[in-house]
């Protein structure tokens, strides 16, 4: 490139045609990865232990599909419990009332300390503590005794604990209550990430605490809350396999293992489990992507650039809304 200042000082310079930097290391890495992938594919195709045809035949059989449905139902219900209860516990944690703060702290402490597997088995065996679960006036017998009434009972309804607290409900409670402790921490961090000026502005407009939380703070906290919640959901999908110990049988992993051990084809069924979990997780990831996009409203840089272009198109007429003549 010659520099000819006096003649072409304002002319557009030639595009740069330099030799790009070479990256030999990258090519070596690509070669190594290529070989490893080839070896893996070779293993998948040639090793008889995979028994692909058997796996495909069994992967979509009614009990397995019922297991998938059970796992999804467990995932959805336990995450719902986790999120709703998590919001409540997070709000308690941020409350000015020390009793509520204490309760929230104790809850989080307990359910984060105990492993989910232990919780699942524990909840499956709660029937040992209470034969029946009943709702009504608490301490009714004691109150009756106080007034001299023998066997005073003020109970609205009840059910047998063994009927309810085994299987699905026990698993759902174990997972959901434990999840609430983790979700509470995530939601608390999200709420605290929102600038205090937002709450003040909303208060100054006459909104009450509930309105501020629902309309102003939580929607903004979502940007911080959604990504780790996606993580939690995926972790929960895998943890649904723990309820096999409650025991719950309408669950994906339990069903696949049952087929595996009945037919002595354990390995293909493990591969089938892997594939099922990969599929379900991919669906969850796609959902997370759309949620994140939704809550990035007003902050996404792409959106900004688009609006700037639009603004330029509109502002062409000179009416860009600059102040002055108001």
């Amino acid at each position: 490139m010659s520099v000819d200042t006096d003649k072409s000082a304002r002319a557009r310079p030639e595009p740069i045609q330099a030799v790009p930097v070479r990256h030999p290391g990258r090519w070596v890495a690509v070669a190594v990865i290529g070989v490893l992938v080839a070896m893996f594919v070779h293993l998948l195709v040639t090793n008889q232990a995979f028994n692909w045809s058997f796996m495909i035949d069994n992967m979509f059989r009614p009990p397995i599909v019922a297991g998938v449905r059970g796992s999804i139902a467990l995932l959805v219900t336990s995450m719902l419990i986790g999120i709703v209860l998590g919001v409540v516990i997070a709000i308690m944690r941020l409350s000015e009332n020390p009793v509520l703060r204490g309760v929230s702290w104790a809850y989080t402490w307990f359910f984060r300390a105990v492993p989910r597997l232990v919780l699942a088995i524990l909840f499956g065996n709660l029937g040992i503590l209470w034969a029946r679960i009943e709702f009504g006036l608490p301490f009714d017998r004691q109150i009756g005794a106080l007034f001299g009434i023998q066997d005073f009972e003020a109970r609205l309804f009840g059910f047998s604990a063994v009927d309810i607290l085994t299987g699905f409900v026990a698993g759902m409670l174990a997972l959901g209550l434990s999840e609430a402790a983790y979700m509470a921490e995530i939601i608390r961090a999200g709420i605290q990430s929102v600038d205090e000026g937002q709450t003040e502005a909303a208060q100054a407009l006459g909104m009450n605490r509930g309105q501020i939380l629902r309309r102003i703070v939580l929607p903004q906290a979502m940007r911080v809350i959604v990504p780790p919640t996606g993580n939690e959901t995926i972790a929960m999908l895998k943890d649904t396999s723990l309820v096999a110990f409650v025991p719950v049988s309408a669950e994906l992993f339990f069903q696949l293992r049952a087929v595996g051990s009945r037919t002595f084809q354990v390995f293909p069924m493990l591969v089938a489990a892997t594939i099922w979990y990969l599929l379900l997780t991919s669906v969850l990831l796609a959902g997370q992507h759309y949620l994140e996009r939704h809550f990035a409203k007003g902050t996404s840089r792409a959106g900004q650039a688009k609006a700037r272009l639009r603004g330029m198109a509109v502002g062409g007429g000179g009416a860009t809304g600059g102040g002055g003549g108001v």
């Binding site: 000026g197 100054a204 407009l205 009450n208 700037r308 809304g321 102040g323 002055g324």
Partner: protein, 269 residues
């Protein structure tokens, strides 16, 4: 603005209508530090009161006491005759419930130094949010009023923009429109132009002047001496939690009586 006396027509004696804002002996402490040490202030309806003072003198704190964002420790504040934050009953003060405090705040608009627009809502949604949610007005009516307000502050073509897509001056004008949408009888401004680039200050001040001419009662914390001189009906100079000097802005600025006022004005002029 409806329901507000225009400045030219304020023939009504103060005794009959009473001041719009009346504060007596307002004290406020944060922990052991006393920030407000007995503030007295009266602002009549339709007046623009400019609040000046060095940093840390308690201007923001006092403004926040007026709409009960801060609880005062002693004294009282009345807005349009209503005691803020408390109810008198049987010679005793009762703390108001959150709902009642919120109701009082509806009539008091506030504009912040850092705008505090809701970033997840468009300019129009920022303005319509509170009338819809708090005043429970009809959507179509609110939308129309909000669009008119944004038009009035010069942002008629920015209704669909998010705050991040607006300049500082534009954001502050949206914030003013947002406060006006609640039909307040009093507007509080806390250094509304301090966070703006110099060339954007004018557009916000113009909106405020327009508002003052329409008869809005305003308390404005500002370092814009020109604005105070031109638009202000009264000027209050605060330092270290007390009112040092107050009076007609043109007179105080031209001929400050107090040493501290002189020293402050010499710095900002």
């Amino acid at each position: 603005m409806t329901g507000v006396t225009l400045p030219g027509q304020t023939g009504v004696p103060a005794a009959e209508s009473g001041p719009m804002v009346h504060a007596e002996q307002v004290h406020k402490s944060f922990g052991s530090i006393e920030v407000l040490k007995g503030i007295d202030l009266q602002v009549r309806a339709g007046e623009v009161c400019c609040l000046l003072g060095p940093s840390g003198s308690g201007k923001s704190t006092f403004l926040r006491c007026i709409n009960h964002l801060e609880k005062i420790n002693a004294g009282w504040i009345r807005v349009d005759g209503e005691l803020i934050g408390y109810r008198e009953r049987g010679g005793k003060l009762h703390e108001m419930r959150e709902k009642e405090v919120a109701a009082q705040r509806r009539a008091i608009g506030m504009v912040f130094q850092r705008f505090n627009l809701f970033p997840h809502k468009t300019a129009l949604e920022n303005v319509t949010e509170a009338p819809l949610l708090v005043r429970k007005e009809k959507r179509a009516e609110v939308r129309e009023r909000a669009a008119a307000l944004l038009e009035r502050v010069g942002l008629g073509d920015k209704l669909g923009n998010y705050p991040s897509q607006l300049s500082g001056g534009q954001q502050q004008r949206v914030a003013i429109a947002r406060a006006l949408a609640m039909k307040p009888k009093l507007m509080l401004f806390d250094e509304p132009t301090s966070a703006l680039d110099p060339e954007l200050v004018g557009e916000v001040l113009d909106v405020m002047k327009d508002l003052a001419h329409d008869g809005m009662t305003m308390i404005v914390v500002t370092h814009e001496i020109g604005f105070a001189r031109e638009v202000g009906d009264s000027l209050v100079f605060m330092d270290n939690g007390v009112v040092v000097e107050s009076g007609n802005p043109r007179e105080v600025i031209a001929d400050p009586k107090h040493e501290r006022t002189k020293a402050f004005l010499a710095k900002v002029l």
